[in-house]
Symmetry: C2
Subunit: 162 residues, 2 copies
């Protein structure tokens, strides 16, 4: 099973393409989409769509998972995350992908066994799972990888097969 | 100039395709997209995208305008309207359409000269502008037509050319 995991955002979106082979998890691709905020929303939403469309096609992804944004104090920010979420739904529809959404606490619980873990703790869990991964990745990327881990290994993270 | 005006919604979306020729406004197409709520969000968002993609292609629309949802008390509803709004942005990007968003009060001011006009008053203004239009259209449709009028004639609605 090949998945695309996204930590969605309107300025930065971290992503990870991961694959489960037998009992092992491979990280095939990871990175950060930077979305220029100087452009209008049509361009920003289009950039997000085009980027992830290509990732899905290039990697022949079968499964899309992302973190569900929690309610921000600022309703305008909440609404804007809705644009991106709508694009995720559309991509899942167009490529017939399985879709999984997780709350931040579900992801943290699955990766750190602690629903209120900090971003640093999430990053530590990710580096522990993929020890060869370059350190100093942006939080958006480690968050995306943690969403993928939540999807693929859930609470069995610490039983990493050797 | 040929425009697609939408009153966006997650269950019903009214639309109108309108054209300005000289000083007259033609209503080329209007109707209601019903979105089955029993389907998941990927399907609902996909239905919305496919439907309006076809309208844009069929009518060779150059301009997209819609009513900007106001903040609902229920943040969840607000977020869901964000999905649809994201799709509007994507369509505008993909077809290089001019995009115009209006608040409900802007549309009401433009069509009824009253920012707090009722839905019935908006419908009356629409029927006054297009006297041959069948009565008893759903509010979503008359709202979409009023958005189109806001775009094309703005506050000159009552100076309808004969």
């Amino acid at each position: 099973m090949k998945i695309l995991a996204i930590d969605p955002g309107t300025r930065f979106a971290g992503y990870a393409v991961m694959q489960k082979k037998g009992r092992s998890i491979q990280l095939l691709d990871h990175g950060l989409l930077k979305i220029k905020t100087t452009n209008g929303w049509t361009h920003r939403v289009g950039t997000y769509y085009d980027f992830f469309l290509k990732k899905i096609q290039d990697h022949k992804v079968e499964d899309l998972c992302f973190e569900t944004p929690f309610l921000y104090r600022n309703p305008s920010t909440f609404m804007k995350l809705g644009y991106i979420r709508g694009i995720n739904y559309l991509l899942a529809h167009q490529f017939n992908l399985n879709l999984h959404e997780y709350s931040p606490s579900e992801v943290k619980q699955a990766t750190c066994l602690k629903g209120n873990a900090s971003k640093q703790q999430v990053a530590c869990a990710v580096y522990k799972y993929f020890p060869t991964l370059e350190r100093s990745l942006k939080d958006d990327i480690t968050d995306a990888i943690s969403v993928g881990l939540c999807r693929l290994v859930a609470n069995r993270l610490y039983n990493k097969p050797s």
